[in-house]
């Protein structure tokens, strides 16, 4: 623990890097996952091939995925972002599709009253599905915080740097500091998004 308290500034800076890495990856992941999920709900045949590809990506170990990306994207921040965004797809798309699955009677009533497809999405499916959607974001966020620690291995920075350094220099205190900080981040993100979920479910 001594390392953590003596180098709070370093840990804080790496935490900020970690948050940035996860945040950017998550935003990009959402920008892909939400339209894909909407496409799946409108054209159900899109679902199986998309889920097939995403679940295949999900089964690749994260270290191996990063290794596969190096020849294409090189080392660094953006390579990690690509890998993390790919990982999040499975969780986000699945939950977003589930979130649009509101009671068919409600959707039929909405159609019958003369709501357009866009209005049904925005006025009915979005508010009703929001808690499920946020749950997906929460699970994806917590997963990415964990996987992002591995991204230090491809020079993407973040708390994984402490863990790798600690192992390399046989300095367990340093590795522990990185791990603890990552756990703390994950717990804070999880609790924060849970609160949001509960508020939206009401």
């Amino acid at each position: 623990m001594s390392y953590l308290f003596r180098h709070l500034d370093v840990v804080a800076q790496l935490s900020a890097e970690h948050v940035r890495l996860v945040g950017v990856s998550l935003l990009i992941a959402l920008a892909i996952a939400v339209p894909v999920a909407i496409a799946i709900t409108r054209r159900p045949w899109v679902g199986p091939p998309v889920f097939g590809v995403f679940s295949l990506m999900y089964t690749i170990p994260s270290l191996a995925l990063f290794a596969l990306l190096i020849p294409v994207f090189g080392l660094g921040f953006w390579t990690a972002v690509v890998g993390l965004a790919a990982y999040a797809q499975m969780i986000l798309v699945r939950n977003t599709v589930a979130a649009t699955g509101v009671d068919p009677a409600i959707v039929e009533a909405a159609h019958g009253m003369g709501m357009s497809a866009g209005q049904i999405l925005w006025r009915v499916q979005r508010p009703l599905g929001m808690p499920v959607f946020i749950a997906g974001v929460r699970v994806a966020t917590v997963s990415l915080i964990g996987i992002a620690a591995i991204a230090a291995w491809i020079n993407a920075g973040g708390l994984g740097t402490l863990v790798l350094d600690g192992i390399e220099h046989d300095y367990p205190q340093k590795a522990l500091a990185g791990a603890l900080a990552a756990v703390l981040l994950a717990v804070v993100a999880d609790q924060g998004l849970r609160m949001l979920e509960r508020r939206l479910a009401r």
């Binding site: 009671d103 009677a105 409600i106 039929e108 009533a109 909405a110 159609h111 019958g112 009253m113 003369g114 709501m115 357009s116 209005q119 009915v124 508010p127 009703l128």
Partner: protein
Amino acid sequence: MTSLPTSRPISSAVPGLYRADAVGAPRGIRFDRVVKAYQPGQHVVDDVSLAVEPGRFVVLLGPSGCGKTTLLKTVNRLVEPTSGSVSIDGVDVSATEPVALRRGIGYVIQQVGLFPHMTVAQNVAVVPSLNGWPAERQQARVHEMLDLVHLPAEQFGARFPRELSGGQQQRVGLARALAADPNILLMDEPFGALDAIERTRLQGELIALQRQLRKTVLFVTHDVDEALRMADAIVVMRAGRVVQYGTPLEIIARPADAFVGELTGAGDLVRLLALMCVADVQLAQDGELPAGAAVIGLHADLRTALSAMLASGTTRLVVTNDAGAAAGTLTFEAMLQAARAAAEKPAP
């Protein structure tokens, strides 16, 4: 297909019921040779032609799977016919924009389909708000509609649907459907999920409401008693086809075939009596009233009259008019004769 074929006026499909307008566009809802097939050769709706006059309460009656709901949904284009056309006041609905069309047609379904994340007031205001009404007008309309269905806005407006009973939810569903003042109301087994007491109560309220509002109503049910009670006219359907279209009395008194007879319990004279009223019977004019005689109103139905005869142990009832004065005497024989006559010849 944009207009009705002139060689075959649609009103000919409904002999004795309605005459086509001589001038101007035909009013009301018209189905012209409507077919719906989800798979080739399997006609869920099979060549249906019907005319529904404005302000009429028409019930689509038949066993489940007979195509009545599918036919209903062709009116607001939730279902597109495979062939044939549906028109409203002479305008082919396939030429209209579906979203605009639906905002002008009230729609009530069995599962109600209230939006669980909106309050009762917000649910009722959905179509007015889609139509861009100013907030004050929306609010005034919500109050008016909730009063109409006996759920005062002060008490119920701020509640959420899950806080209401099934019957209350369907009242909100009805208020929501009526909020933008549509001329046409489509109701798909609206009371099917309610318990018997609530169902009877809501039927009564809908009858009273319809007397006041005079909407053109298409009402789907498989409940014969509900159909007989509510309908101005009943469309009996089987296997996608219209088997008979007539008033409740015609359907009971002169079923088109054995299927209709069995479905509606035709030949059940008590059911027939329920559809006739005291005023339909030739009353005897006896002069003075026997003291303590059983009394019945001129507008009571004959089933109630029969029940009164059985209860009082007589075959004669004193009939009173709206003012409470004696209008004559109803005899069992006259009642029997009227029922038999109705069963033998079509009602006027």
